[in-house]
């Protein structure tokens, strides 16, 4: 038994019979599982997924789409949407559509980086806190309490203002805002999973703390984190845009969505300047919300 536990991840053990299965019941491939899960997703979640995929592809490949240079003049300033400029031109005669699509190159990587960093830091600290307990738990969770006691935008603004404007600094600020959420989520899961029998078995079998935590506990704790991370992707896009809107994020002339909306707000009657980036943010936030809800319905057994 000890051998088996040590060789196989705990997550697999739970879904597999202990004894070898007959040939015809071979475990389906990962691709097949993914496809089955995908088919079970509600349509709204699928739409959300497609929209997010679009923006990720856009961020990766927009420079090959043959769009006008987002920083260069493209005719007259403040032109209304037309066949030549689908979303018109801004106060510096730049093509708004091109700037909106190029904007994905700022927002999408930032959102991925911030969520990934927040998940990594938060989950690691949360897992350690939950598993080890004692004063380490107290220390980590008090740090979490202090961080979440500030309104997110206020904390992000304070950190950004202290570090100076710029997307890197804004990203650091957002990671500081976000990691506690994942620390709490992971800690709660670890506290629950560590009491399960297979963990006790692993401990009894002589597995070290690190191995027990990483191989037998954490693999079972990712569902809430995954759902939350999906939704937070949109929230990070929104917060990054907000910081840029108030001048603490992207510096000009970057076609970042928040700073474009800020430019559009001062030219309110030329509605198209803010329309493109506004719709972009709307689509990402909504898509993440749809996808996150869908994933939760699918993965979270407690809600069924």
């Amino acid at each position: 038994m000890a051998d088996l536990i040590d060789r196989e991840p705990a997550a697999t053990i739970l879904v597999r019979p202990v004894f070898a299965a007959p040939e015809q019941h071979r475990r389906p491939s990962r691709g097949t599982v993914a496809w089955r899960l995908l088919r079970k997703l509600p349509p709204t979640a699928l739409i959300g997924g497609v929209v997010i995929l679009f923006w990720i592809i856009c961020a990766a490949t927009v420079q090959f789409w043959g769009l006008p240079d987002p920083l260069a003049l493209a005719g007259k300033r403040l032109q209304e949407p037309s066949a030549a400029h689908w979303l018109g031109t801004d106060a510096l005669a730049r093509d708004v559509l091109s700037r909106t699509l190029y904007g994905a190159r700022f927002s999408v990587p930032i959102a991925i980086a911030v969520v990934a960093a927040a998940v990594a830091i938060g989950s690691l600290l949360g897992a350690i806190a939950g598993y080890v307990g004692g004063w380490i738990d107290g220390l980590v969770m008090r740090a979490v309490d202090v961080t979440v006691s500030f309104p997110p935008i206020l904390l992000a603004m304070t950190v950004s203002a202290a570090l100076g404007p710029g997307l890197v600094n804004a990203s650091i600020a957002m990671v500081i805002v976000w990691w506690p959420i994942y620390a709490r989520l992971m800690r709660a899961q670890v506290l629950e999973v560590r009491e399960r029998e297979h963990v006790e078995a692993a401990v009894a079998g002589g597995a070290g703390s690190f191995r027990v935590l990483t191989k037998h506990i954490m693999p079972l704790c990712w569902t809430p984190t995954l759902v939350n991370a999906t939704m937070d992707f949109g929230a990070v896009v929104l917060l990054a845009a907000s910081l840029s809107f108030i001048g603490l994020g992207a510096t000009p002339p970057s076609p970042e969505w928040g700073s474009m909306i800020s430019e559009g707000a001062s030219k309110f009657y030329n509605w198209w300047i803010a329309f493109g980036p506004g719709m972009a943010i709307l689509s990402v936030v909504l898509a993440c919300s749809f996808l996150g809800d869908g994933l939760r319905d699918l993965l979270d057994t407690k809600e069924r």
Binding site: L71, A72, L73, R77, L78, A91, L92, A93, P151, P152, I153, L154, A161, G164, P165, M231, G234, A235, L238, L239, A241, S242, F245, I246, G247, T251, P252, P253, G258, I261, E263, G264, A265, S266, K267, F268, Y269, N270, A274, F275, P277, G278, M279, I281, L282, V285, L286, C288, S289, F290, G292, D293
Partner: protein, 538 residues
Amino acid sequence: MFQQRLTARMSRRHVPALLTASALAFAAFTPMVFAQDSDTLVIARSMDVNSLDPARAFCDTCQIYLSSTYETLVTLAPDNQSLVPSLAASWDINPETTEFTFHLNPKAVFADGSPVEAKDVKWSFERLLNLKGSPSFLLDGMTSVEAVDAKTVKVTVTGPDSEFVNKISATYAAIINSDVAIEHGAVADASAATADTSENWFLENSAGSGPFTLAGYTPESELRFARNEAYYGTKSPFSTVVITQVQDAVSQAQALESGAVDIAMQIDPDTAASMSTTDVTTEVVPSFNFVYVAFSPGAATAEGVLTPEVREALALAIDYDGMLDFTVGGNGVKQSSPIPNGFPGTAGLPEPKQDIAKAKELLAAAGHPDGFTLSAVYPNDNVYGVDLNLMMQKVQQDWAAIGVTIDLQPQTYPVWRDQLTGDGIPVTAVYYAPDYYGSGQYVAYFAMTAGTPWAGRAGGKTPETVVNPAEANLYAKALASTGEASAAFYNQIGLEMIKDKIIIPLVSPNLVLAYKSDLAGVRYSACCNLPINEITRK
């Protein structure tokens, strides 16, 4: 409100997400709270009040406030050039322009009914000088002010100053009811800078002879005046005037269109052109305000790159016509030197022109054939209808054409100011508005003469590298002469300042006066911004 919008990130359902994103996309605006009332005049403004004490205040809104609640000895006529009597019914100047005698209007009374006397003028001037506040520079060089009799006051200055009377037309040289102010902690003698404790009292009270009195001030909200019933001149038809805080041009335009306000003061030409209401009058008038790019070769991070040749190349690379179009939609004019168009000595100064080929040549000769990179730090503000962020992006594009890269760093005003007065900023962008009609204020602020604010900023630790001795000599001559002769010297100073290539004026934006069509008498004043007492309802 903005914060609420953002904290919605904790909500996990679609509707809040949708609302949040839409709200950000269409940037919501502060609702207006004022109703239109024929007896009340409501003005929308983004207020920049630093103080309501005449000797401490220094802001555009302060000009409106001070010219409404106080009076100066002389004031600027509607032509924005000639001086006309105000508290002083007449004045005499000695031929050397070192002694100025003012004869006070015998009818003039303060709001409490007491007469305006020479002792009040003496006390107000001494306090302005001794308080060492932002506007104290107006009286630099004043050696004495004496009350010859109750209605005559004589001011003596150190050297000839043909602009002295112009300077005291600035609203900050307001005459204060000294008895009342002294009672509330105001001090005028040499100890004023430390002993005066009246600043808070001035935030709640006025002590002037103007057509209005202060009825209340709530920072970031409103500044309220009540008609001075004891006013000895023509009384305003408005019993109450409210300047209400409305942050941006679009919100101001919407407040005006909805009838919530009577006058909107900071609407940019693009927004004015988009307004559709018929009962709003918009006038676009030339202003004396301007926005400029400034170089500080002595800034710590400039690393010796901004030599005179490089500065000239950068100035030549700017597309001045395009700048006018992109910043104010063509609603402005180019300005040659740091002295605004229309001020003495500006006639005939050469207009700035773009010459990319020559700029490249100069840059190559200066050892930068492939250009260089510099950072530009500037306040992230929208002033006089010009969005400094947009303007600097245009500058960035223009300089990219000669291979010069600038890294744009918009900052909040206080952060920017700290950097400017600290290590210095190699390239910055700022704005300036006049305090009175006269070219001297620009020489005192922008000339490369030891001791001026910009010589200090541009030179950093090595001010001698930027000082242009010709300017100090010419300024002394300009002050010692009058009329055409004085203007000729200012013209030469203008040429010298153009040669310095430290201050590069980009645009002198036109001013949009937008007001309800039932108002008359709304005009722009170079000293007082908006003379409220001239406004009536038709």
